[in-house]
């Protein structure tokens, strides 16, 4: 045998005589399947123990060659090592999960993946549209023409017109004057009432108490509060509140 360039020579691994090219496997299950097929028996008859050994040898060699192994290959190796020891131990009825079930499941997975590969190959071997048979390249196309017939009666028509006329007919709008205290007014009031007082005083004490109109009273309350905020912003007074919903205290800073 001729000496080969060591960089060209494919690395061969023990029983499986596989080319060490991890990139060509789609994960540990794929590698396992390739190894299993090298046993040249029906996958249903595969020796799981032999397969585990093949895989572990493969991984060991890969490590010896300092090849980068993806983590999932190592996880699989650890799991298979565990499976192997469980299979070799005297049967333990308490063992959970049963290692023989695990071996069966692994065999099932391999057979299923193998079956799917085979199915894919058989699919691709079928005559394919666009390669073996061809559809019409330039069909005229079919078209359903829908002729709309509108089911609208004269009543629909005139009642619609009636509705428009009713809608746009003369309408009397009565604008009620809502009693409000304007913000300017509230600022003026509060500033005047506060004067030069430097004692903390409840804001509510500055509200008029004799208001009969409830909506006006609410407007006064709101406007006075906003006025207090505005005067505080202008630095003319200070605001204080001990707690949420506690009385709001104000005092002049002038």
């Amino acid at each position: 045998m001729l000496a080969e360039d060591p960089f060209d020579a494919p690395h061969r691994s023990g029983p499986a005589t596989l080319v060490l090219q991890l990139g060509s496997w789609e994960g540990p299950l794929d590698l396992l399947l390739t190894l299993a097929r090298s046993q040249k028996v029906d996958l249903a008859q595969i020796s799981i123990l032999a397969l585990v050994d093949q895989y572990l040898v493969f991984i060991r060699e890969a490590k010896a060659l300092s090849l980068e192994l993806a983590a999932d290959y190592l996880v699989m190796a650890a799991w298979l090592a565990y499976l192997k020891s469980a299979l070799l131990l005297p049967p333990d009825p308490e063992a959970e999960p049963d290692p023989h079930d695990m071996a069966l499941k692994l065999q099932f997975q391999l057979r299923r993946l193998d079956a799917m590969r085979d199915a894919g190959a058989r699919l691709l071997a079928r005559p394919q549209l666009g390669w073996d048979s061809f559809g019409r390249a330039d069909p005229e196309g079919l078209k359903l023409e829908t002729i709309a017939r509108y089911d609208t009666s004269l009543f629909d028509l005139i009642s619609a017109y009636g509705a428009i006329k009713a809608r746009s007919g003369p309408a009397a709008h009565i604008v009620r004057r809502r009693p409000v205290m304007a913000l300017d007014e509230a600022i003026e009031c509060l500033e005047a009432l506060l004067g030069k007082s430097i004692d903390w005083t409840e804001l509510s004490r500055f509200l008029p108490t004799d208001l009969a109109d409830e909506s006006y009273a609410r407007s006064v309350l709101a406007s006075t509060f906003v006025a207090a905020l505005e005067l505080t912003r202008l630095g003319k007074m200070s605001l204080s509140q001990g707690a949420a919903f506690a009385p709001i205290l104000v005092r002049s800073t002038q």
Partner: protein
């Protein structure tokens, strides 16, 4: 291969082609053969009575559906539809105020009229453009058609109930009762 084989290949080639094929085009696929015109005539004869015919147009061959079957390929069906409220209202404004411009319709209805609404009424054959108003912007006017009168069983536009009639019928109330029986409510009258 059977003697029929060239015809099979011929029909497959012409069928799958993206455009009608000349004799030279066909020969590229099937190989040069002196009897090609003859084969094509045979194939055309075989299809003559079918729903698909092989025809020659200007030296190019293609399959097409038999002309007498066109009604199957573009069948029409009648769909009964309800006009949208906007369309009915727009139609009524046009009917009562024609010729009327779109801004006028919008003013009367109090809402914008979408182009789609006009299109639907036009497609239904009930309204038509009726010249331009000689005012700034020269807006297009709309009017109803004889088809409109026919559909609503009106001899003349004057037969539309007037405002007084509408009021009497309670149709100027805010919420017109839809089931209201009116003397003129039936289109069969």
């Amino acid at each position: 291969m059977s003697t029929e084989s060239p015809l099979r290949a011929l029909e497959a080639i012409i069928f799958a082609a993206a455009a009608p094929l000349t004799l030279a085009d066909i020969a590229k696929h099937i190989g040069e053969r002196g009897d090609l015109p003859h084969l094509l005539r045979d194939l055309a004869a075989a299809y003559a009575d079918r729903g698909i015919n092989l025809v020659e147009r200007g030296g190019r061959w293609h399959f097409q559906t038999a002309p007498d079957l066109a009604h199957h390929l573009r069948p029409s069906r009648e769909a009964v539809r309800k006009l949208s409220r906007a369309a009915v209202e727009t139609l009524s404004v046009i009917a009562y105020h024609e010729p009327v411009t779109r801004p006028e319709i919008e003013e009367i209805r109090g809402v914008a009229v979408s182009g789609g609404t006009i299109d639907v009424l036009m497609e239904a054959g009930w309204i038509r453009p009726a010249g331009r108003r000689e005012t700034p912007g020269r807006p297009l006017q709309y009017a109803t058609t004889p088809g409109f009168l026919a559909h609503f069983n009106l001899i003349h536009r004057r037969d539309l109930p007037g405002l007084a009639d509408l009021k009497a019928a309670g149709l100027l109330d805010r919420e017109p009762p839809r089931e209201l029986a009116l003397p003129f409510s039936s289109t069969d009258d």
